[in-house]
């Protein structure tokens, strides 16, 4: 039976630039969040040997650069292995760090407020906080991934409750990663090593799970992030399959996008300023004929494709932002 799909996406723009030393752009970004005034926050994890790129950058949909804050280190407001960011209704930003086992809060002007977190597996302790979301009541959901659970905290860091345990049964997790709260309050978790997305009520009661391992439509390979729009359409960063899949609220498959990035204004400005690269780029074929079919390799050799699409988030009513770790950018799609 063929299901008629209702949702199609069209690529419209790219925002990004590789910035290993910080400044305008990103370096191995791992999460993206949109504030209600439209500002877009990008968390750059950066990499060994080039840690100056670590931080949180602020931009907007029109490519304006609003600076950066935080950075690599152990001091208040700094991070080591940043994994996720989330912004609450008061415009406070929460940052998860899986190495230091802590959550840091910044105010709406990006100033450090406080942090909490202790290593362990007991209530209120962390072993790898890796996904953040604000639930329907304004509390913070933290994916505590090596403890295979989701913990809930007040906005000030008071532990409330948790759900999930290690395993592959309903409601269990295998190194979960991303999490989102849908407009109707339903909680979605990217159950990373179980290759599925699980849904829970706002109280953490299991609803259903979708997906199994593979490269086909509706199958996943290490999904890392999920987003849900106002119509209930579900967007999944199918991390190791180097694509984003879209489903309706009944899990009917809608479409796949794999990226088609062009030059962002920041990228174009760089190319214009470097004549040797500009001349060479004029004969650049972004889609060369390849002798490999392994998806990671294909993306590594094809600049417009997603390469490590790690995080998805909605923007307004009809746009989707797809953040790519290995290409230091996010691509913007629009509902057709």
């Amino acid at each position: 039976m063929t299901t008629e799909t209702q949702k199609q996406l069209k690529y419209i723009d790219t925002n990004g630039f590789g910035a290993a030393q910080g400044g305008r752009g990103y370096h191995f970004p791992v999460d993206i969040a949109v504030r209600k005034d439209g500002l877009i926050y990008v968390l750059s994890r950066s990499g060994q040997g080039s840690l100056n790129g670590t931080g949180i950058s602020v931009t907007d949909i029109d490519h304006h650069w609003h600076g950066e804050f935080s950075g690599y280190g152990t001091a208040d407001g700094q991070m080591q292995w940043g994994t996720a960011i989330a912004i609450d209704s008061s415009d406070r930003l929460f940052l998860a760090d899986e190495k230091m086992q802590r959550i840091t809060i910044f105010d709406l002007d990006n100033n450090y407020v406080s942090h909490w977190g202790t290593a362990g597996s007991g209530p209120g302790e962390f072993d790898g906080p890796s996904g953040l979301s604000i639930d329907a009541d304004g509390n913070l959901l933290v994916v505590d991934h090596k403890n295979h659970r989701v913990q809930r905290y007040t906005a000030d860091g008071e532990y409330i409750d948790s759900f999930g345990s290690e395993g592959s049964a309903s409601g269990q997790f295998n190194y979960p990663w991303g999490i989102t709260t849908a407009p109707d309050g339903t909680i979605y978790v990217a159950d990373w090593r179980n290759d599925r997305i699980q849904r829970f009520t706002s109280d953490g009661v299991f609803i259903d799970a979708h997906g199994d391992s593979g490269e086909g439509d509706g199958q996943f390979s290490r999904p890392s992030s999920v987003a849900v729009d106002h119509d209930g359409f579900i967007y999944v960063a199918d991390w190791q399959n180097q694509r984003v899949q879209v489903f309706d609220k009944e899990w009917n498959f809608q479409t796949i996008v794999r990226g088609e990035a062009g030059l962002s204004p920041w990228a174009a400005e760089y190319i214009d300023a470097n004549k040797d690269e500009k001349i060479a780029r004029e004969v650049f074929n972004p889609y060369p004929k390849l002798d490999v079919d392994e998806l990671y390799e294909v993306s590594a050799r094809t600049e417009p494709y997603f390469w490590v699409p790690v995080s998805v988030t909605t923007y307004g009513d009809d746009r989707l932002l797809v953040l790519e770790t290995a290409r230091h950018r996010f691509q913007i799609f629009e509902t057709v």
């Binding site: 990004g16 990499g47 190495k99 090593r193 470097n274 060479a280 004969v283 060369p288 590594a300 230091h328």
Partner: protein, 481 residues
């Protein structure tokens, strides 16, 4: 060939084999291999199963930069995870061998991704036909840009690759002429990469901008290939690169050259390569053994090595502990002794960096000639690095490999007390059936005796066991393999 009979117990010989064809075996691994016997262990080496090393998805989640960036300690760490956690270390040892011979460095290439792709190619083709390996090498994008073959054009050759495939990779100086180099280079014109102008400039400009590194794709440009007649090593024809490789592979100088490298890497330290044109091999019979295997088995590298591992020469006293461990062998062997890694950790960078401090930065050989090895590995500075790294690694009793050794000793002495001599003997055995000179052993026993009673069930006893292990990995003999 060295005419010494096999020497040592079966366990000692298997331990010797696994040090050479891997990075040394733990006591548990030796027990399993002992059930198979020497020949069974050898068969398993050549028919490996799943490496079961740390999965790529896990590495990429925690170290998103490692497969991608230009920083050698970062991408080198991907390989370090593989070497220190794999169940099939022979694959890594052969990849390390070819990395040393076909020395390619991301110091020039800038991106680590293409280097790791080259290493994976060594795993896949490193024990097969040398012809297939040379074809893969000649089409490998990292090698193409490392030796400038993208600038080797019809009517305007660049000799770099044509020269090095003969001089450094396959035949050695003295077995070809300058004219052969030119003709060889002509045959490899058009062997380039897709989007060569842009990729080449990005490499030269050393930039990840605007969107990171785009991994390279081999491409044959027929329009830029010189299809004219060439004369190479006495044969004439409209040769392409494949034809050149055929001619190279059937020349007897080729297996002799490769065999000497194999000898240096797997049997005993040889003279530095630049001296080879002037000094014969250390063991000509061993070389001929490998040359015969090469021609009898369709240029198979694996057959050459198998002939070695099955020979009495390899099992002889003279061959055991006859090589100085390379830094990577020392670091990986020690990490594996201590239990490897269960999960990604920032400690991986320390291990990768340690190799560099000792003189062997992974994916960044000092030159196209690779590392000389042998005595070159040892200097005052490198010895300090070697001992400090090994001692610190085995000095942590919480590491599962060290804990396993302590538990074994404890199980063997349920009443608690262990004599100093028994402790040293058992530590040597449990650390992989290691052998040290009598004088060295007496020194360690004296140290152990000075520690007083040793009860492995107590924290004090654990500390004493660990300190003996630290002494063992600080010995002269531990520097040898």
């Amino acid at each position: 060939m060295t005419t010494a009979a096999r020497s040592g117990t079966d366990t000692e010989l298997i331990a010797h084999l696994l040090r050479r064809a891997g990075f040394g075996a733990t006591w548990e691994e030796l027990q399993a291999a002992g059930d198979l016997g020497y020949q069974g262990t050898l068969d398993l080496l050549f028919n490996p199963g799943d490496p079961e090393s740390m999965p790529q998805d896990i590495i990429r989640r925690y170290h998103p930069d490692q497969s991608i960036t230009q920083i050698a300690p970062s991408s080198g760490s991907v390989w370090m995870y593989r070497m220190s956690t794999t169940k099939t270390p022979f694959e890594e040892k052969i990849a390390l061998f070819w990395h040393r011979i076909f020395a390619t460095g991301q110091t020039k290439l800038i991106q680590g991704k293409v280097m790791l792709t080259q290493i994976e190619m060594f795993r896949q083709f490193g024990l097969g036909s040398f012809r297939d390996l040379l074809v893969q090498l000649s089409q490998n994008p990292a090698m193409i840009l490392w030796l400038d073959n993208q600038d080797n054009h019809k009517g305007n050759i660049n000799e770099n690759y044509g020269r090095e495939i003969l001089e450094l990779f396959a035949m050695g100086v003295g077995n070809y002429s300058e004219e052969d180099i030119k003709e060889c280079s002509r045959a490899f014109t058009g062997w380039t990469i897709a989007n060569m102008p842009y990729m080449s400039i990005k490499m030269r400009n050393n930039t990840l901008r605007p969107y990171g590194y785009v991994a390279w794709q081999y491409q044959f440009d027929a329009d830029d290939h010189d299809d004219g007649e060439k004369t190479f090593l006495g044969e004439t024809g409209n040769f392409n690169g494949d034809d050149i490789i055929d001619i190279i592979c059937k020349n007897p100088a080729t297996p002799r050259f490769i065999a000497r490298h194999l000898y240096h890497h797997f049997i005993a330290d040889e003279l530095p390569v630049p001296q080879w044109p002037f000094e014969g091999p250390k063991d000509p019979e061993a070389i001929e053994l490998m040359v015969d295997a090469y021609f009898a088995n369709d240029y198979s590298i694996g057959a050459m090595l198998r002939a070695v591992f099955e020979s009495d020469m390899f099992k002889s006293e003279a061959t055991q502990y006859a090589r100085i461990k390379s830094p990577v062998e020392l670091v990986v062997g020690t990490l594996r002794l201590a239990g490897g890694f269960d999960w990604p950790t920032a400690d991986i960078f320390k291990a990768t960096a340690a190799c560099g401090f000792m003189g062997q930065a992974l994916l960044a050989p000092v030159s196209v000639e690779g590392w000389m090895g042998g005595d070159d590995w040892i200097s005052t500075g490198s010895m300090v690095q070697r001992i400090n790294f090994a001692s610190a690694t085995v000095g942590d009793p919480t590491k599962k490999g060290i804990k396993s050794i302590i538990d074994q000793i404890s199980d063997r002495h349920p009443r608690g007390l262990v004599t100093p001599k028994a402790l040293v003997d058992e530590c040597l055995e449990l650390a992989g059936s290691l052998r040290v000179e009598d004088e060295t052993k007496e020194g360690i026993v004296t140290y152990a005796r000075e520690q007083g009673d040793i009860d492995p069930r107590t924290d004090d006893g654990v500390d004493k066991i660990v300190s003996v292990l630290q002494l063992i990995v600080s010995t002269r003999e531990y520097q040898l393999v």
